[in-house]
């Protein structure tokens, strides 16, 4: 490999724009890679020197994030979304087709250094898949023809800016709108309503609303805000969690694309109530295309005095928002990993307590809220806490947006008051032959048709908002295998149960997949499930085997059918494992072979 030439004239302005602050290391690396295609040792060394940090810190960050590259990956870096719904929509065939057309192997750069093709976790385009990313830009609704066109554009070295704009169109697909998606927006209305209540009054409304977080855990938002307000600190921060990495979830993408103003107002109101003056949006790298429109809207907000100093003319109400990008790491959706990532470090979950509300970003009191939660804040401000609490169920107030994908006629977003039955959602989306619904992404539950009468609410089936629907010709084993690969890939590696456990799960499922499975493997999976779910450090590990366990227990035929061996056998061909030694020793005698099975008789 030739030592890449460092280009100070490219790197210096980037570093300057981020004030040479090591806390912005991740942002600097992302921009450097956009400009240079990869982060060579020279580039990393230059950045380390400029920021006055050890080069190993830089390397640690580069190696942590899947979408940062320390080896060249070509001018065009194509990544197919590898989620189960993309696979069901035909993504493996499309990827094979592209590899063939470009005469490439997966993950290997073309000889001329032009292009590489690989896989990535769910890109959040599940309602309009199969999808891929090329240099972090999403292309949806792939067909064989579009793959051909893309290959031609790549071969012609056409700059992405000149590719047909409709490739990059991302639709909202709002199929059912309610409180949030169906209401008109008037700029500043929510903020002014909050200001009319005063900070304590607005906090009281939040309490009355009983609004709970939409990011998964369902924590009561007012409690979180109060804890942050009351914690000692020099600065406070409001963080919007827009990492949306849970496979099958895409509601936050739509909210940031078409409802961003409400997110901003929700953050500013959170600032108003807690005394925070700074907001940060952590935007997953897959949604980079949203950054420019978001920045433009933020400028509008500042111009209209809805952000900045003295918001709405209220002296002392200062609040502004900055956007940080992620770079391909599902674990960064976990709030403490997200904070580490905001600080420019590898996104490894912190030990809790202390919780972010007392010790978060830069060790200051920090509120982390999901995009949807922050939108709901504006409803509380406008309609009051009591009115808000009037919809939904007792423990789950308000409405919930559900991202529906998979075997349905109308994939997209469906907003309902909490308490809606699973069967209602399926009917509205046109799922006529569902054999299973995976709720809340790969980390959630897998429901059987007998459970379709259950309700979406924290007191019954909680969800961060995704429904992946499986029709009657689907094999749930494929889903289990897909989730296993997802978690193996996304485990941050910090703790052993998750790092090793997720890999063992994947190997065992692969073994069963290749026809070598016996009861033994099934028991091993159960044992590993118990171990990983009880001894992992963060929520990624503790939930990684939920869906697998559901499939194993609620859909017994899925595994029974595949556990075809009477007793344990190796997952590979033992005789073939001797082939290389046979070859170099020039042997082919009887002793140079092993039979595949343990057998009843005596070994040779």
């Amino acid at each position: 490999m030739t030592e890449a030439i460092v280009e100070p004239e490219v790197l210096e302005p980037i570093i300057a724009r981020y004030n040479g602050d090591p806390g912005n290391l991740l942002q600097i690396l992302i921009e450097a890679q956009n400009a240079l295609d990869w982060l060579s040792p020279g580039t990393q060394g230059f950045i380390a020197k400029s920021l006055d940090i050890p080069v190993t810190h830089v390397a640690a960050v580069v190696q942590f994030y899947t979408h940062l590259y320390d080896t060249p990956r070509g001018k065009y870096r194509v990544l197919f979304s590898h989620n189960i719904t993309d696979r069901m929509a035909g993504s493996p065939t499309l990827m094979a087709h592209m590899l063939k057309r470009l005469k490439l192997k997966r993950g290997v750069v073309s000889d001329d250094g032009l292009v590489s093709v690989g896989k990535t976790s769910c890109t959040g385009m599940c309602d309009q898949g199969p999808a891929l990313l090329v240099n972090n830009r999403a292309i949806t609704r792939l067909t064989l023809r579009r793959i051909d066109e893309i290959c031609d554009l790549i071969r012609a070295r056409a700059p992405l800016a000149n590719w047909p704009a409709h490739y990059f169109r991302v639709e909202d697909n709002i199929e059912r709108a309610d409180m949030l998606l169906g209401s008109a927006y008037a700029p500043g209305e929510a903020l002014r309503a909050a200001i009319a209540c005063g900070p304590t009054g607005m906090m009281a409304e939040m309490k009355r609303s009983n609004l709970r977080g939409r990011g998964g855990a369902g924590f009561t938002t007012a409690v979180k805000w109060e804890a942050c307000r009351d914690a000692p600190g020099d600065e406070r921060y409001i963080v919007c969690n827009a990492d949306e990495g849970e496979p099958g979830t895409f509601k936050d993408r739509v909210l940031l694309q078409s409802f961003a103003e409400r997110v901003f107002e929700g953050m500013a109101i959170a600032g108003y109530c807690t005394g925070a003056r700074k907001g940060l949006i952590y935007l997953r790298g897959e949604y980079t295309y949203l950054r420019a429109p978001l920045e433009a809207k933020l400028s509008d907000f500042r111009r209209n005095r809805l952000l900045g100093m003295g918001i709405c003319g209220v002296p002392g109400f200062d609040f502004d928002i900055a956007i940080h990008l992620g770079a391909g790491a599902y674990v960064c959706g976990e709030e403490t990993a997200l904070i580490e990532s905001l600080e420019g470090k590898p996104g490894r979950p912190r030990i809790r307590p202390p919780f972010p509300v007392t010790c978060g970003y830069k060790n200051q009191p920090t509120v982390v809220n999901n995009v949807e939660t922050l939108c709901k804040v504006t409803e509380v401000a406008i309609h009051g806490g009591l009115a808000y609490a009037g919809t939904g169920t007792r423990q789950s107030a308000g409405t919930k947006i559900i991202s529906v994908s998979g075997d349905v006629e109308r994939p997209g977003l469906y907003e309902y008051p909490f308490g809606v039955r699973v069967s209602q959602v399926l009917e509205d989306a046109g799922a006529y032959d569902a054999i299973a619904v995976q709720i809340s992404g790969a980390a959630g539950q897998c429901l059987t048709p007998q459970e379709f009468g259950r309700r979406i609410a924290f007191e019954d089936v909680p969800t961060s908002g995704s429904f992946m629907v499986f029709g009657n010709n689907r094999d749930l084993f494929e889903a289990a295998l897909n989730y296993a690969h997802f978690f193996e890939h996304e485990s941050c590696g910090f703790c052993t149960p998750c790092r090793v456990g997720t890999a063992l799960i994947a190997r065992i499922l692969e073994k069963i997949h290749s026809g070598h499975g016996a009861r033994y493997e099934f028991n091993e999976l159960n044992r590993l499930h118990q171990l990983i779910s009880t001894s992992s450090h963060c929520g990624l590990g503790t939930t990684a085997t939920n869906a697998l366990h559901d499939i194993m227990t609620k859909f017994p035929t899925v595994f029974d059918r595949r556990l075809i061996r009477r007793d344990f056998e190796p997952g590979f061909d033992l005789d073939a494992a001797l082939a290389r030694a046979r070859e170099v020793a020039g042997r082919d005698d009887a002793n140079a072979h092993l039979d595949a099975h343990l057998g009843e008789g005596v070994d040779a």
């Binding site: 590979f572 001797l578 290389r580 030694a581 002793n591 057998g599 070994d603």
Partner: protein
């Protein structure tokens, strides 16, 4: 007079596949408890007895990883004949030290050793008596069903003693944290 019929002694087989016999040395480290052990069990095939092939047994203790075809045969023989099979030590549990060769192509390793090193003849031995190397070094549980695993390189004599006495008395074997803490 003791009227109870004497409890039938359990039969134990042990083997070292591709290991260093360190785990067996550790078994000898139970010192005077060896005398107690032979009251409870009878050794079948084992480097301790020098019996070369094993009959029906209750417990198999196996150290070392699976590196070659002979290891596979021995391991299968023990699996067929023993009710309980225990992987003893890092090599048996994970591949351990021998698995360091897994980073290399086995053909290249053989050629380097037998053809390229000074003083070698330029030929990989081809005697049919010699076991052939597997492409990779495997832990026991990739070749046969394994019932129990004892970690350590080697596990301490105390750990082995605890494990064995638990097994012999029909308890679920348990090691406390101290006995597999190595730092």
């Amino acid at each position: 007079m003791n009227m109870r019929p004497p409890m039938k002694k359990l039969k134990v087989a042990t083997a070292s596949l591709s290991g260093c016999l360190g785990c067996h040395m550790s078994l000898l480290d139970i010192d005077e408890r060896l005398l107690e052990l032979v009251k409870l069990v009878e050794f079948d095939r084992s480097p301790i007895t020098d019996i070369k092939s094993c009959g029906p047994c209750d417990i198999a203790l196996i150290e070392g990883a699976v590196c070659n075809s002979e290891n596979v045969h021995v391991l299968r023989e023990l699996r067929r004949n023993c009710k309980m099979l225990v992987a003893v030590g890092a090599c048996a549990v994970t591949g351990g030290l021998p698995a360091q060769r897994n980073r290399f192509d086995v053909g290249e390793i053989l050629e380097r050793c037998y053809c390229e090193m000074p003083g070698t003849q330029s030929k990989v031995p081809d005697d049919p008596e010699l076991p052939l190397l597997l492409d990779k070094v495997y832990p026991l549980n990739e070749i046969v069903r394994v019932d129990y695993f004892i970690p350590g390189c080697p596990p301490s004599g105390d750990a082995l003693w605890k494990y064995l006495t638990d097994l012999i008395s029909g308890r679920m074997p348990r090691l406390d944290y101290q006995s597999f803490r190595f730092d």
